[in-house]
């Protein structure tokens, strides 16, 4: 594939600095080579000598001197090398990407930084971007600053509807502007905010449409390990279907290991990742190496088996949270709200049948009823339109809090309906 046609104007002008070219000489340096090229501070001045961390299973991880040195010093932009190796093995194991030898992988400071750099790589103002309706609010936020034109494709209970996607793309193709959409962004597993998971047949259809219209697919998959199916029943990722080399896949440790370490990774065609790497280099230089060393050591300590055990426990934990939330919802919201059962992730997407707009209800009156959630309008392009939906996160609340929360919410909704009727 010719990737240069997808690049925004700024992205097309990114060039490696001469200095970064020099780093290749460091790969197997002759012992007599005197290296005076790097701007690295002297590690003897870093005040830390030893680091240990205690794990929840009782194990203690002791960072070796080498690891500590790596953790405290600037590292390579793509990521701490042992971690990159482990992550590549993980991607190969889980997805067997068809064009693996033409792909690359970069560690990012959270998946969101990867997605934002990808958007900036692909979109000039006025370029079309395909998103689902509703869409992850932070993605909308990133996109808003880039002033694209949106093709917001209505969802059903599996996510983006192919017929709607086809229709929207056809319209865009026939418009006078002759600007073809370049990028399609979606969260295929336990989507934020709807909690829907896209099945295999649907994914293949979407991929085929992307081929027809030559789109780059941004597969944002932070809940991949939080789908409540057994691991083997998770639908194949877009990356695993990617025979053309048109998928940028964003994985994250935020929901499964730690959000605060800021460790995630993007996998995709080497030419596109090369452009992203340049931008990452000029923004963070490298990610937090200390975090990357810790994640790497944790993965090494666990091995494949330990990792599977850990994610299996997570699935059980969050499934129990979901079930407690559903119990609370059916106890208090039956007749007031509608919802589908999320098959993964951490969100319940509620439709308030009798309320025209949940925005003012939540923002202005929610606190008086002791319940705060996110109004549905945060997840659509035009947030001025009335919206009947709300997103409730069930990851961090206890069953008791859920019950109280749903009770408070029911009260809030009833009062809102009364308010609406009085105003009518």
């Amino acid at each position: 594939m010719n990737y240069s046609k997808y690049l925004s104007k700024v992205a097309a002008r990114r060039k490696p600095s001469g200095i970064s070219d020099m780093r290749k000489y460091l790969v197997n340096p002759s012992p007599s080579l005197v290296w005076l090229g790097s701007g690295m501070p002297n590690p003897t001045q870093f005040p830390f000598r030893e680091v240990t961390v205690g794990l929840n299973d009782g194990e203690v991880l002791h960072l070796s001197q080498d690891m500590l040195s790596s953790g405290l010093q600037y590292g390579p932009t793509p990521g701490y090398a042992p971690l990159v190796t482990q992550l590549k093995a993980m991607v190969e194991r889980h997805h067997s990407p068809p064009r693996w030898s033409e792909s690359n992988l970069l560690v990012t400071v959270g998946a969101q930084d990867g997605v934002s750099k990808a958007f900036e790589m692909l979109l000039d103002p006025g370029d079309y971007v395909v998103i689902s309706d509703p869409c992850y609010s932070d993605a909308l936020c990133m996109l808003a600053s880039l002033a694209p034109q949106y093709l917001a494709i209505e969802n059903d209970d599996e996510g983006m509807v192919p017929a709607n996607l086809r229709a929207a793309l056809k319209l865009a193709a026939n418009s006078e502007e002759k600007r073809m959409p370049k990028a399609l962004y979606l969260v295929p597993n336990a989507s934020n905010p709807t909690g829907t998971t896209m099945g295999e047949v649907r994914r293949r259809e979407i991929y085929a449409i992307a081929q027809e219209y030559d789109l780059i697919i941004l597969e944002d998959d932070p809940y991949y390990f939080l789908t409540y199916e057994e691991e083997q029943n998770i639908p194949p990722s877009f990356l695993s279907l990617d025979i053309d080399g048109r998928v940028l896949r964003f994985d994250s440790f935020s929901k499964i290991v730690s959000a605060g370490l800021r460790v995630a990774f993007v996998t995709g065609p080497a030419p596109l990742l090369a452009v992203m790497e340049l931008h990452l280099q000029s923004s963070v230089i490298c990610g937090p190496m200390f975090s990357q060393v810790l994640v790497s050591e944790l993965l090494r300590e666990w091995g494949e088996e330990g990792f599977s055990r850990h994610t299996a426990k997570l699935r059980i934990f969050y499934k129990n949270q979901r079930d407690a939330m559903l119990l609370a919802a059916s106890t208090h919201l039956t007749g007031l709200c509608e919802w589908t059962v999320p098959k993964g992730g951490i969100f319940l997407w509620l439709k308030v049948v009798g309320v025209k707009d949940t925005g003012p209800m939540i923002i202005e009156r929610g606190i008086t009823k002791n319940v705060i959630l996110i109004p549905g309008k945060e997840f659509v392009v035009d947030s001025s339109k009335p919206n009947q939906f709300m997103r409730a996160a069930f990851s961090c609340v206890t069953p008791e809090q859920m019950m109280k929360g749903m009770e408070n919410l029911a009260s809030l909704i009833r009062e809102e309906i009364a308010l609406q009727n009085n105003q009518a």
Binding site: L36, N42, V53, I285, F317, I372, A393
Partner: protein
């Protein structure tokens, strides 16, 4: 000051996310409010529960289970609150900035990411960009893709040259005026110069007269040599609120933790905070907690002690490097004594351009440095300079390096004589 005029369209379009505002409500909210807002993982699922960092001075930083939750959870976008307080105290104590109440502090993932956010907030295609020259490559890599019209400002052994700044400004088109001046005033990368206080005051006035913001990039602030008192920062002179100052722990505590901070006018820092929120969301919490704990255990006194030690260390390194240079490069190169930082900026006598000498023949010559061309805004003009780093090399290796360099230069001059003059 109204800063809207400095912002590009992308920055103007950045709006606060309602979700982030709602998260913010959670701090200090009454206990019986049920928050179903954050898409955050449950801390019960975090696999790391405690941590311990031994310091070289024998003390230990304990990361208790509670602190470890802070380390592993999303944090507020501006930064880990205790750390923000500490950084504000440090900044206020060291610089006593005028208009302190009109400023904000934002933690950044290394100062480079702060620079990127500031630059990407302002750059438009084809814009005139004022940078001191030679210029830090990390900034050139952010700016160059915007096809700028570079206006380089000369610097010498005393730092940025005010008359060159005046001349540069006089030469630019009234329809394409620059928005800011970028400078590394202490231990400039690569020149090693420290801009004198007199010159800083003059530069500040020129910037005032020309409506420029000043991007004060100061990662080597603590690495100023020869017993002089700490430099007077642009921030400390900033009566108008035109300085964005970038600090970093990278050279004095750890580069790999990726902790820096930007101090500046509220309106500008808020915009940068929005960019941060829609990119990294928050800087690494664990890194911030570790730095915060370190600062807590040290206090301002301990920080001063440590930075004094680090300063002495790099000064010794500089002196060793100068000895090696004196021994092998006298008559071969010219240089001024670096008043700060980690680099020796060498001018090679008799060689028009050092690029090929290093990139093609340096490996064989057993010495690698950075060719000066990398720090120049003009992609075509030949450059006879080299940047040698003295931060992480032992004295014998420095001597070997300078010896190898002298031989490399000798061979290069012979090569130049044999080849016809090119370009």
């Amino acid at each position: 000051m109204d800063y809207t005029g400095y912002m590009n369209e992308v920055a103007k379009r950045r709006e606060p996310l309602v979700i982030r505002e709602l998260f913010g409500l959670q701090h200090g909210a009454p206990k019986d409010v049920v928050f179903l807002t954050a898409g955050a993982p449950n801390p019960e699922t975090f696999p790391i529960v405690s941590g311990s960092l031994k310091l070289r001075d024998g003390t230990t930083l304990e990361l208790t289970p509670d602190k470890m939750v802070d380390c592993l959870q999303y944090g507020p976008t501006p930064g880990y609150p205790p750390l923000i307080e500490q950084l504000k105290t440090i900044t206020e104590t060291i610089h006593t900035p005028p208009r302190w109440k009109d400023r904000e502090v934002l933690v950044t993932t290394g100062s480079q990411s702060g620079l990127l956010m500031a630059l990407e907030m302002m750059l438009t295609p084809g814009q005139t960009v004022l940078v001191e020259q030679p210029c830090y490559t990390g900034v050139l890599s952010v700016v160059s893709p915007y096809n700028p019209k570079y206006l380089p400002v000369e610097s010498d052994g005393e730092g940025l040259v005010p008359s060159s700044l005046r001349a540069a400004l006089a030469s630019c088109s009234p329809h394409n005026k620059p928005k800011f001046l970028y400078t590394v005033p202490t231990g400039s990368n690569p020149s090693g110069a420290v801009t004198s206080e007199d010159r800083r005051r003059e530069v500040y006035q020129i910037c005032r007269d020309n409506d420029l913001l000043i991007l004060e990039d100061d990662p080597y602030f603590f690495l100023h040599y020869d017993g002089k008192t700490p430099p007077t920062s642009y921030l400390s002179l900033d009566e108008d609120g035109r300085v964005l100052r970038f600090d970093s722990v990278s050279k004095v505590v750890s580069a790999g933790l990726r902790v820096g901070w930007v101090t500046g006018p509220r309106q500008l820092v808020h915009k940068m905070n929005l960019h941060k929120g829609s990119s990294v969301i928050s800087s690494a919490s664990m890194s911030q907690v570790v730095v915060s704990e370190l600062l807590r255990v040290w206090g301002l006194e301990g920080l001063a002690r440590h930075t004094a030690q680090v300063r002495q260390f790099y000064q010794n390194k500089r002196d060793s490097m100068l000895q090696a240079a004196d021994k092998y490069l006298t008559g071969v190169c010219e240089w001024t004594v670096p008043a700060g930082g980690m680099f020796l900026w060498l001018k090679v006598l008799g060689v028009r351009d050092t690029w090929d000498m290093v990139m093609r023949r340096g490996l064989e010559g057993k010495v690698m440095l950075v060719p000066g061309h990398a720090f120049m805004t003009d992609p075509i003009r030949p450059c006879p300079y080299l940047r040698a780093s003295f931060s992480a090399t032992s004295t014998p290796i420095m001597h070997q390096g300078m010896k190898n360099l002298a031989e490399l230069i000798q061979r290069e001059k012979e090569l130049q004589r044999m080849k016809p003059q090119q370009g």
